[in-house]
Amino acid sequence: MKAFPSALRLRIPGIGAAPGEAATGARSTGDSGGIQPTLHGFIIKHSLLQQAYLLTLVVVSLPFYYYSLDLPKAIINTITKWTPHPFSVGIAEFHFAHLTYLWVLCGLYFLMVLVNGGFKYWINRSKGQLGERMLRRLRFELYKRLLRFPSAYFKKVSTGEIIPMITSEVEPLGGFIGDIFAQPAVQGGTLLTIIYFMFVQDWILGLASLSLYPIQGYIIPKLQRKVNLLGKQRVRTIRRVADRTGESTFGAGEILTHDNARYQLASFARLLGTIYDIRFEIYQRKFFVKFLNNTLNQVTPFFFYAIGGYLVIRGNLSAGALVAVISAYKDMSAPWKELLDYYQQFQDTKIKYDQVVEQFQPDGMFDERLMLEEPEAIPHFTGEMSLSNLTLIEDDRVRVVDGVSANLPLDRSIAILGGTGSGKQELALLMARLLWPTSGRIGVNGSDFATLPTAVLGRRMAYSGPTPYLFSTSLGDNLLASLKYHPLREPEYEGARAKRHQWQRQEARLSGNIDLNIDADWVDYETAGVKDQAALRDRVVEVLQKLGLDQDVYLLGLRGQLDPKAWPEAAQALLEARKGVRARLAEDKITHLVEPFDVTRYNTNASLAENLLFGTPVGPAFAAEELATNTYVLRVLDKVGLTDDLVQRGLKIAETMVEIFADGAPSEEFIAQFSFISADQLPDFQAILARIGKDGIKNLKKDDRARLLSLPFKLIVSRHRLDAIDETLMGRIVEARRVFEADLPEQLRDSIEFFADDRYNAAATIQDNLLFGKLAFGEADAERRLIEVVARVIDALDLRRTVIEAGLAFQVGPGGTRLALAQRQKVAIARCMLKRPDVLILNEATSALDGPAQVRIIDMLKEEFAGRGLIWVLHRASLVRQFAEALVMEHGRLVEQGTLADLDKPGTKVSELLKAE
């Protein structure tokens, strides 16, 4: 065990770890953390007290239960035969009349019903709470382990296999953990009581009733064992299905480009076949166990009839007692069955637990304490990073990095060069501690990276690789991710919310979860070198500009939204810009490129639906596809008497579409591109037209009417040129628009944001707000010309900053895939810059950019990191000219080190690499 430098005294915030216990300092292999290797170990460790409480509840509830069973007998006896006698409760004595006594007993019975119900409710509630807490704990522990997996492990297991383990596989555990002691206690207790009752009646019959239990107890677990093995197999195969499904979603393109579909389908069918075999086998065996069990249960009464009959005939037993025993035996089968079910479930759950936990114990897991410790002081990385005899062996024999020793001064730019497979990338990963060396060590100022908490490395050092990962949230959140170590400013809670917050934290602790508040403000301004949020925004924009990312974010911002409540000044400024855009369009004589929204005029470049709503739908209430069936819309149309006219127009459109497309249309995609009616709906509309021809439009069915009505809603006058909407109709739709707004019920007010010339529309994009109209159809190059105009106005009004900030709200999609790789690489570098690390390690981090852009970024970062460490693994050797020093790797070994002037001589590896380019 290695000791920590005394400056790094540790506390782990949020998790109740035992203090004073020194961290092992390296990666642990067998540490169990919050997960015990066996299910009962896990349950006992984390829920012993609660289980005991539950068991006590069960035991306490039993006498009440038996009393409530016994009461009916007393009531019946009171009704049928009555002898007055005093009742004593403690020292008090009561005398009751016949009827009064009946009322008292009935009252008691009623009370017992309530008490038993109450017990049942409370026991179930406690069981549920216990189970859910344990499930929450297990999931949390598994997830926490995921973060600590050695990176090599991810090469072996696929996410497709891991995800179902945390989501669905552990789910049944929750329900079962609450039952684990309570269920056998309740059922076993019942069973024992019945057995006791039978022995009281006659001990021979009692023995007879138990005679087959040993056989059942012996055979059934044996059979069950085989079922368990199959169960394990089933879980494994299902994981393969998950894995395969995930793989196919990623590799769909590959499968299609190589006409691989049949092969993939066949292989998937085989997998399903395997599952079928296993499941059917399990099914058969389970039911065989049931069959055996039922048969044996049926055989026991044979003994009763034979032995009991013999005893009754010989006069050793009363017939009544025999009947009582037989009926008691019937009651035995329910708890016995429950116990057997419990046994099977127990086995199932155990398998699941074992199999999940087994997957979450890879060798070489990263020490949990290193991940979550918070040292009191976080020293800066200055001086040199020293690598001594650093070796990384993969697959037990490949020396990927081989005995590298070097001292890297952390006040200049250093390039690492080498061919593919030279070990340069792995060297960078070792420096960032994303890989752990097989032997040797890395450190700064005498510290050893192997014992440094992530709190030190993660704040003093930054790393970005060739394919950085962005999280599926906003661009801004992704940029600030490097500043979120801790909840720094808790929100103020009052009243009910404060209570709820308290309760949430307490529950988190009771389930062994981290109790840090996700709703707090986590952004560390100090690390970013700014004093408040406004300054941080300045800094973010500055970093974006430095990386040449500002124009991209500006364009995202134009197509994004801005909340006028959060940014009232910005919204006001953009409203001004709307006027500016209009003036500029007039100046350039291109007003015909946009048809502005005017509440008194029909917009011929907008669909009929848009004309009717005259606003941007918010949420699904007024979504375009459902508009023709929206009850409020229909009510408005009825009120202004437009419904029949629109159905007529729909009919006309349908006729034209059928005429044009019904035969000899070029292709389905073609129809999809142009028609109001998709290729597969055409026959339906043909049928509707045929019905109208026969029965007339008056007798149209409700469904058919709705379908016809939906057609004109999509019609855009200037695009479709169908003559379906004339001037008069336009006027009436403008009238309907007025009614639509005036009559809009309160609960729908939030479902639409109306267009208004003097108001910023929160639901529309910034660009739409600026243009405040529809792009004219059929004007060549209109969009590009308009964006130019918008850009000129934005710059003239100094609003570019505002739009960029709005662009930070852009959602980057899973893995950041809505951004191009080059953009993702820049975002990742921006994230590194924002936290101002002492050392920045870049591993081919600009590979998707073009040459000049890369040089620009290198020069910019050299300036930004002047006096700090900049270590860059180059994917193009010629970029080395920008760096103060270079390290050259070959076959895992460091072969050259020095300035470019020293190294660029005939015969060196550097000159060889430079020549090769």
Partner: protein
């Protein structure tokens, strides 16, 4: 302008004269109306081609880039059909076209156009005839230019 008027206009173009009205409607409906401001270039010589055009309104110049600079080889007006060679032969645009005035066109996509030719042999024949006419005109022009060139050459010697 409505679909009906567009159909009437298409009827006046020799190439489409023999096509039955529903098909003309299909062409009109699926082609896009595109307007260009004066001076705007519709496409440039050498561009990849994906549509042919019919002029509804306005005038356009056909410009060929030569070693000696751009040369206007033709001026097109209403009902003229152009841009079909490049989509027929799958070659880059053989000339540039620029709007001389404000120009309104019907833009017929390559997919629709090729499909029409396959479906309507009469249309294919019309196009062949049109192309043959143009070829003949070009040959005549070449012949006269050639004769002129010979004459000049003789004068020089």
């Amino acid at each position: 302008m409505s679909l009906h008027e567009e159909v009437d206009m298409l009827k006046r173009i020799p190439l489409f004269a023999q096509i039955e009205p529903p098909k003309l409607k299909l062409i009109a409906f699926t082609s896009e109306r595109v307007a260009f401001d004066a001076g705007h270039t519709l496409f440039r010589q050498g561009d990849a081609a994906n549509a042919a055009y019919v002029i509804v309104e306005g005038k356009a110049e056909v410009i060929v880039e030569t070693a000696g600079g751009p040369v206007v080889v033709a001026v097109l007006g209403p009902n003229d059909f152009f841009g079909e060679i490049a989509i027929l032969c799958d070659v880059p645009r053989t000339a540039s076209v620029r709007a001389d005035t404000r120009l309104i066109t019907l833009r017929i996509s390559k997919e629709l156009f090729l499909r029409l030719i396959k479906e309507f042999p009469t249309m294919a024949v019309s196009i062949m005839r049109e192309l043959a006419h143009r070829l003949e005109a070009t040959n005549n022009q070449l012949r006269s230019e050639h004769a002129e060139l010979e004459r000049l050459r003789r004068q020089v010697h």
